[in-house]
Symmetry: C2
Subunit: 306 residues, 2 copies
């Protein structure tokens, strides 16, 4: 195996993503040592039981000692407070990063606490499941997934390259862009779809008991895919919508405009308009398959897993 990219990576927050990084860093030899730190004693206990880290004292001074890469993996809403707590223990030359789903808000919260000589390079691995906690993680979570880095304009290119190497070692495809651009693209590809999924599941929940039970019974016909998305971690998503408010509201505005057009077509019985619209959206699906982001296997009904 090639040399480790970092001597010691410290993971702060051992949820799905943090615990997966810990496992992957070790399994793929991306760091010689892995330290894990979590504010919850129960989570620290579980991390020890799972045996996914070398350093599990649960104390910042021990965990961060000698760490040349520190990754904040907490919910976005607390990463500023976490950075403030970590700051006194960050060593000169170390790289501080994160995994937040929004980047502008993270930069605003974390940057003021980064000590001189520490490289702050935000990152966002586009990977996850609808499960949470240290037991939900696994080493291969980042394989063939994108990891977007959003270094500031004055970031040290060598530090950026090392973080790129780290994520590449974990199996990710790495791309860099500005935090602002990241937030716009993700508002459309991730945040808005989740908001919509949450909303439609909520609409169903407002019906009476009988209808609700039928909705669940017949969910395979489209609704089920929404519930899967809407089952993601509530804390994480609250923080995303608060942290990327402007871009999400802008995308939501566009979505609403477009939906009004479809609604009007249905009300007026405009079959030609509906057909043209549905044909256009089909082409996007084909592009996604062509770019290898999904397979063409007809598993819409998810037959194999039933």
């Amino acid at each position: 195996m090639a040399d480790a990219v970092f001597a010691r990576v410290a993971i702060v927050g051992a949820g799905l993503i943090g615990s997966s990084i810990a496992r992957a860093a070790r399994d793929y030899g991306a760091a010689r040592q892995v330290a894990v730190l979590d504010a919850s004693p129960q989570v620290m206990d579980r991390v020890r039981e799972l045996g996914i880290a070398d350093e599990t004292s649960g104390e910042a001074p021990q965990a961060l000692k000698g760490a040349d890469l520190i990754i904040i993996c907490t919910p976005v809403g607390v990463c500023g407070a976490v950075a403030e707590t970590l700051a006194p223990h960050l060593e000169p030359g170390a790289i501080l990063s994160d995994v937040g789903s929004v980047k502008g808000a993270v930069v605003a919260q974390v940057a003021p606490h980064v000590p001189e000589g520490v490289h702050f390079i935000p990152a966002h691995p586009l990977a996850g499941t609808e499960y949470s906690g240290p037991d939900a993680g696994f080493a291969s979570l980042f394989q063939n997934r994108w990891c977007i880095l959003t270094p500031g304009e004055d970031a040290d290119p060598r530090a950026v390259a090392r973080l790129d190497d780290f994520w590449t070692r974990l199996g990710a495809k790495v791309e860099a862009m500005s935090a602002d651009h990241h937030d716009k693209v993700l508002a459309l590809t991730s945040h808005l779809p989740h908001l919509i999924a949450y909303n439609i599941v909520g609409t169903a929940d407002d019906f009476g008991e009988q209808t609700r039970s039928e909705v669940i019974k017949f969910s395979a016909s489209g609704f089920r895919d929404f519930t899967r998305i809407a089952a993601s971690d509530p804390t994480m998503w609250r923080d995303i919508f608060l942290g990327n408010r402007e871009a999400v509201l802008e995308m939501l505005g566009r979505f609403n405009e477009d939906l009004s057009v479809l609604q009007r077509m249905i009300r007026r019985g405009d079959g030609e308009g509906l057909f043209a619209f549905f044909t256009r959206t089909r082409a996007i699906r084909r592009s996604i398959i062509a770019q290898g982001q999904d397979t063409a296997a007809p598993d819409f009904g998810r037959r194999k897993s039933d």
Copy 2:
């Protein structure tokens, strides 16, 4: 194998569903003979090449001769015209059924053409993929899927029981309800989710080329699941929205009201409200898994197929 339920089933329209019924009826011994009829000579040629039917003349008199079950599998929009064409060839005692995704509109179109002595029992198998045409079909499509029958109040119970047997033989779980109730439940579980999915994919398509290519690139983070839904057959979905207009518009109205509430929470930064909402939707997902409508496997990222 048990005795066949029907002597001869005639499938009218050899798309994904029709060709799957033809294959399944034969593979699972639900009918002794299978006749397939399609308005398109090219489709009839393909049906002959695939060898999925015993009678492939493409002529209604031959296809329907001796048929004790006739299933209209065309798009919903033309099923009235199709029923009118078939009517002179339907034999007394035969059961006429369909597979339409809306039921009220199908009943309104088809019922006037059903001859005396023929049992009209509408049906809707909740199964499908995002693919279309005779090549897309397969015999196991209906295994463990629901098939909803919507017999009229004066329907012959023996005819209903035979159709129930037929679908059970194909592997489906059968349930009966009124056409009106079916259309309300499906508006929420299937039609509205599809409309939303079409809409969000359309919103993405309206962006410029660069953003669009990034949306496709980073689609794994939620958006991809929508494109899968939005890739379904445009003709079928046009007919569904036109055929179930009232129920869809009512559900869309509720959806929009709820979305306004979420939008307001985001704009006002109401973290508690968002958290409570997202926690509630998570419970619905758990109910669906508990009822066996989906697995708990964390394949949101669809790792295995990548």
